[in-house]
């Protein structure tokens, strides 16, 4: 069954067509890789799925429901969460608090309850703290729980970004270049982490430039170029596809 479906999505910024008539599906439980050269429209697609941008044309369905025009926070409520290409965190908060903020959707946030600190609110807060602990442990960052997010090394910051998104309890997790700026060991750790998240039943859409990582992780891969889907298939198929090689390296010219 498909979890997310994009139907004939077009996005124009003024006269520029960033995405042209894009359709694809994400099946429940899979890791779908979305690749393409810079400017191919990957992040635009991401922003539309997560509700940051609204498509000019076309529809997006999540679990069969139309979510095209929903606001970002409502989409998060429905079960789609994302991370960001540029590390985006609640910088002056501790790692623990970052994840705790991420638990917003399952927390008690009523005004009077919080003001009067009712037993319901206290119980709820106890639960979100437990959940936070679980996520920290799951991602192996419980030891840095008291560090401020802004003081963390880059690799940990990327993991914390994922931890915040996981705290919201998504069914579909959108990862925007999680391996950016990582060395080999860090990349391998990240691959393991993403596998673990999938093993827990979370479906993942992965945008990534690190080809090795995308090829090892993805069940299927979609290649975008100039806002158009040029290939869709298994990693092995995509790797040797001429259109893909052309998109990345350019066409071989015959000068004779």
């Amino acid at each position: 069954m498909n979890l997310l479906e994009l139907k004939n999505i077009t996005k124009q910024f003024g006269g520029l067509t960033a995405i042209n008539n894009l359709s694809f599906e994400i099946n429940e439980g899979e890791i779908l890789g979305l690749i393409g050269p810079n400017g191919a429209g990957k992040t635009t697609a991401f922003n539309m799925i997560s509700g940051v941008l609204t498509p000019t044309k076309g529809k997006i369905y999540f679990k069969g429901e139309d979510v095209t025009k929903l606001k970002t926070n409502i989409i998060a409520q429905r079960g789609i969460c994302r991370t960001f290409q540029l590390t985006t965190l609640f910088k002056s908060y501790s790692v623990f608090d970052n994840v705790l903020i991420g638990c917003h959707l399952s927390a008690k946030t009523g005004f009077w309850g919080n003001l009067l600190n009712t037993s319901g609110v206290r119980k709820g807060e106890g639960k979100t703290q437990e959940k936070t602990e679980e996520i920290l442990k799951f991602l192996g960052i419980e030891e840095i729980r008291n560090e401020l997010a802004k003081n963390l090394p880059h690799g940990y910051q990327r993991i914390l970004g994922i931890a915040i998104a996981l705290a919201a309890g998504p069914e579909l997790l959108l990862l925007d270049e999680p391996m950016t700026g990582m060395n080999n060991t860090e990349t391998n750790d990240m691959i393991e982490t993403i596998r673990k998240i999938r093993a827990k039943g979370t479906t993942i859409l992965l945008v990534e430039h690190d080809m090795k990582a995308v090829m090892t992780l993805s069940d299927r891969i979609i290649v975008l170029n100039n806002g158009v889907k040029i290939v869709e298939g298994l990693p092995a198929e995509v790797k040797d596809n001429n259109a893909v090689i052309e998109a990345y390296l350019g066409r071989e010219q015959d000068f004779t």
Binding site: S50, K71, T72, N73, A76, T88, F90, Y93, T109, A168
Partner: protein, 328 residues
């Protein structure tokens, strides 16, 4: 509980105890008057701080105070309502107005929201000084706002608000209620959510936080207490004129928060206290007052960019080290 908490609690309790016995130490009405202004400024600074925790700056805080002041004064003077009803009503009036204005304008960020609140503040003052003169009293405002009605508390004689002393205790109680309420809010889940909006509202949105809802909530809470401060002001100082709530007053409130230390709960309280006393001392020098004030501000910004509170924190650390050395 570590020692830092002990020291902090000691300082806070000591301050409250000191504020409680001040009328016993000095019955000089001038001293009490200054302290009442100081307490009012604390309410205004800490309530503006609530708005600032979601990452918005408002230059309409004095205008919301004006709304509270006029609401309260008019309810008592024209409708004969007791002060004890008019005061909460003035807070609610300011809160409702904030809810409406905030729902429309809090989408704007940074300088844009600042300018909108500036314009709103000016409009409020213009309305009070130029429209419905028979009601608002025009530029000269409302004169002869009655003091709060006497209250009877069991076991002690009836409290009449005829001298400065009971008015001072009223101001102190309202200040403590405000500070405690906001402290509770800050330490609750909501405080965390408010702070998240300031840090990154796109990320907040992506984890399902309805950012408008919480921005409007913070703005409404902040303005509610500004309204309460307005009511307290009107009934303590008898006269309410539009010019009391001008844009300059809003800027001063903002300065209290920034100079005190925006990142800490105690910062705005400290800022309001220190700067109120400081400007009272400078008053003797007449025209030179604002020059001295300006120089002091520049010095604080230069040498204590995270506010006076950071100086206090450093002193506390030093004192603790000293204690340790004495013990060792």
């Amino acid at each position: 509980m570590n020692r830092k908490h002990y020291t902090k609690n000691f300082i806070i309790l000591g301050t409250i105890a000191f504020l409680l016995i001040i009328p016993l130490l000095s019955s000089d009405p001038y001293h009490l008057q200054v302290l009442m202004v100081l307490l009012l400024n604390i309410i205004l600074a800490i309530s503006l701080w609530v708005i600032m925790t979601v990452g918005q700056l408002s230059l309409a805080h004095a205008a919301f105070m004006a709304v509270g002041a006029y609401t309260s004064a008019l309810l008592v003077m024209k409708l004969g309502l007791p002060f004890w009803l008019a005061m909460p009503a003035s807070g609610i009036m300011a809160a409702i107005l904030a809810l409406v204005i905030g729902s429309i304008t809090l989408r704007l960020k940074g300088a844009y929201f600042l300018l909108v609140t500036f314009a709103f503040g000016e409009i409020v003052i213009l309305i009070f000084s130029n429209f419905w003169e028979s009601l608002f009293g025009g530029v000269s405002g409302l004169i002869g706002v009655p003091p709060p009605d006497p209250i009877s508390i069991p076991f002690i004689p009836q409290v009449r608000f005829v001298s400065k002393v009971p008015l001072y205790y009223l101001a102190l109680s309202l200040t403590l209620i405000t500070v405690l309420t906001i402290y509770r809010l800050k330490n609750s889940r909501l405080g965390l959510t408010f702070g998240a909006l300031k840090e990154g509202d796109l990320l907040a949105e992506c984890i399902g936080i309805d950012i408008m809802k919480y921005k409007v909530m913070a703005f409404t809470v902040g303005c509610f207490f500004a309204g309460i401060a307005g009511s307290l002001y009107a009934h303590s100082f008898v006269v309410v004129t539009p010019i009391d709530f001008s844009f300059y007053h809003s800027v001063y409130i903002l300065i209290y928060v920034v100079v005190g230390g925006e990142s800490s709960f105690l910062g705005p309280i400290l800022g309001a206290s220190v700067l109120t006393l400081f400007s009272e001392i400078l008053r003797k020098f007449g025209h030179y007052e604002s020059i001295g004030y300006g120089i002091a501000l520049i010095l604080v910004m230069l040498f204590l960019p995270s506010g006076i509170i950071s100086l206090l924190e450093r002193i506390i650390v030093k004192v603790q080290e000293l204690f340790k050395r004495i013990k060792g």
